[in-house]
C-alpha cells in the first residue's frame, strides 16, 4: 500500500447524516441570505429532526429554470413535476412523463431516495444489506448477512414498459422509468451491500434494481460463509459495470 493512502486511515469518522444535513441547511441559508442583500446570518443550529425536515424540503423545492429566466425554488408543488437534486441522487420528471433517476454517490442514501419517490407517488422500497464476516478454517469470509431470493418481479413486457432506459453514465448510474406503466401495487426495488476490497479506500457496491409486483419483500434468507458473489444476480462493482438493472427472465 502506498504511504499516501495510509493516511486515509486517520480520517475521522464522517458526521451522522442528520448532523451533516443540519450543517448543510444552515450553511445554505446563510448563502441564500446574501442573494437578497442580507448579511450572512450568525451561526445557528437546528435540532437534528427539524434540520432533516428542512433538508428534505430544500431538496424537494429545488427547481432551477434556464433560458434566461432567473432560478427560483418551486413556488408551490401543485403537481409532482420538479427536479430533485441531493448530494446522493437526483430525480427529474421529464416532459414525456418519464422520470430520470440518477445515483450520484457510491453509497447513496437509498432510504431517502425511496421516501422521496414515494412522496412523488412512485411506489418504491429499498434495502441496504449489512455485511458479515466469519472465519472458517483460518480463512475469513465476508458476505451479505442475507439475500432476498425469489423476488416477485414483473413480467418482461411490463418491465420493458416501465424501465425505458438503464445506462451507466456521468458520476453514477442513470435509469429512466415510466411510472404510469407500473401496475397497481408494484414497486421499484433498490438493493445494495458494500463489499470491501483489498484496495484500501475503495468499497465495491453491489447494487440491484428491479421492479416487483408488490412492495412486500420475501423473508431475508441468511447467508453463510460459503456465499459467493457470483451467486447473486447482479453484484456490480461501483461505479463501473455494464448493466444496472435486473430485468426479469424472458421465459
Amino acid at each position: 500500500m502506498d504511504e499516501i493512502t495510509m493516511f486515509s486511515s486517520l480520517r475521522p469518522q464522517a458526521p451522522a447524516a442528520d448532523d451533516a444535513a443540519a450543517i448543510a441547511v444552515a450553511a445554505r441559508e446563510r448563502l441564500t441570505a446574501t442573494f437578497n442583500g442580507r448579511p450572512s446570518a450568525p451561526r445557528w443550529r437546528l435540532p437534528s429532526a427539524v434540520a432533516a425536515a428542512c433538508a428534505t424540503a430544500a431538496a424537494v423545492g429545488l427547481v432551477l429554470s434556464s433560458g434566461g429566466s432567473p432560478a427560483r425554488t418551486a413556488p408551490a408543488r401543485t403537481v409532482h413535476r420538479v427536479s430533485i437534486i441531493t448530494a446522493d441522487w437526483s430525480i427529474k420528471w421529464n416532459p414525456s412523463g418519464t422520470v430520470t433517476i440518477k445515483l450520484l454517490q457510491a453509497e447513496a442514501n437509498l432510504t431517502g431516495l425511496q421516501q422521496t419517490l414515494q412522496s412523488e407517488g412512485i411506489n418504491a422500497i429499498s434495502r441496504v444489506i449489512p455485511m458479515k464476516a466469519e472465519t472458517v478454517d483460518g480463512r475469513t469470509h465476508q458476505f451479505p448477512q442475507c439475500s432476498y431470493n425469489n423476488l416477485s418481479q414483473v413480467s418482461l413486457p411490463v418491465w420493458r414498459a416501465i424501465v425505458t432506459s438503464s445506462t451507466p453514465g456521468g458520476p453514477g448510474w442513470t435509469f429512466v422509468i415510466h411510472p404510469s406503466a407500473m401496475p397497481a401495487g408494484s414497486a421499484l426495488y433498490f438493493q445494495e451491500y458494500r463489499l470491501h476490497t483489498v484496495n484500501m479506500g475503495t468499497i465495491n457496491i453491489a447494487f440491484r434494481f428491479t421492479v416487483l409486483t408488490s412492495d412486500v419483500l420475501p423473508a431475508c434468507t441468511p447467508n453463510s460463509p460459503g456465499w459467493q458473489a457470483t451467486a447473486q444476480p447482479f453484484p456490480l462493482p461501483w461505479p463501473s459495470g455494464s448493466a444496472l438493472a435486473s430485468p426479469p427472465p424472458s421465459s
Binding site: M1, S40, L64, A133
Partner: protein, 194 residues
C-alpha cells in the same frame, strides 16, 4: 426546461453572475463533500461556520472562477483549504486528537482490506505524528489527496500549483513517512504511486 446535473459548473457559475440564485445548484452539488471534509479537518463545532464561509467566499469571488475548468470541485476545495487555515488552533487540537485515537476495532470487517486498515490503524499515532510535523502546505496537499480523494490535477488546481510540484511534494512526504515508520514500507505491498 429545467436545469439538472448535466449543466456544467462553469455554466452555472457564469450565469450566476447575473442570476445569483443559480449558485445554490453549486452548493447542492458539492456541499455534502465539503461538509464532510471540513468536519473531518476541524470537527463538528466549526463545520457549519466554515462550510458557510467556503460557499460565501466562492459566491463572492465567483467571477474569478476559471470558466475553462470542467468542475468547480478543486476550486471549492482550494477555498476550503484557505478557510480551514483560519482556524489553526482548532486544527492543532484535531491533530492532537488523531495521535491519541486508538485503531479502528476490526470487529465487523475481517476482509483483506480490513487487515490493511488494522495495520494502518496500528501505525496511527506515528502517521499522525508525521502529519502534524509536515509543513502546512504539504499537509494540505496530503489531506486533499488522502482524505478528500482529489486527483493530482485537482490538488494542483486547488492549491494553485503544478502537477509536477504536487508529485514532487508527495514524493517527499512518502520518503518522510517511510523514514518515520522505520525506513521500510510497513505494508510491504505494491509500488509507489505517482
Amino acid at each position: 426546461m429545467t436545469l439538472d446535473t448535466e449543466v456544467s459548473d462553469a455554466e452555472l457559475i457564469q450565469r450566476s453572475l447575473a442570476e445569483p440564485e443559480l449558485f445554490t445548484a453549486i452548493f447542492d452539488r458539492y456541499s455534502g463533500e465539503i461538509v464532510r471534509y471540513v468536519h473531518s479537518r476541524l470537527g463538528g463545532d466549526l463545520a457549519e461556520d466554515v462550510t458557510a464561509e467556503v460557499f460565501l467566499a466562492a459566491f463572492r469571488y465567483r467571477g474569478r472562477f476559471d470558466s475553462s475548468a470542467s468542475s468547480a470541485r478543486p476550486w471549492l476545495y482550494g477555498i476550503a483549504v484557505r478557510q480551514i487555515g483560519k482556524h489553526r488552533r482548532a486544527e492543532t487540537r484535531r491533530l492532537r486528537l488523531l495521535r491519541l485515537t486508538p485503531a479502528d476495532p476490526p470487529a465487523e470487517d475481517l476482509s483483506d482490506r480490513a487487515a490493511e486498515r488494522i495495520s494502518a490503524g496500528q501505525l496511527g499515532p506515528r502517521l499522525a505524528a508525521v502529519l502534524a510535523g509536515l509543513r502546512r502546505q504539504d499537509r494540505e496537499l496530503l489531506l486533499l489527496v488522502a482524505w478528500a480523494g482529489l486527483s493530482y490535477d485537482e490538488s494542483a488546481t486547488a492549491l494553485g500549483t503544478t502537477v509536477s510540484a504536487v508529485k514532487a511534494r508527495l514524493h517527499r512526504i512518502r520518503v518522510r513517512t517511510r523514514a518515520a515508520l522505520g525506513g521500510a514500507d510497513p505494508m510491504n505491498e505494491g509500488p509507489e504511486n505517482g
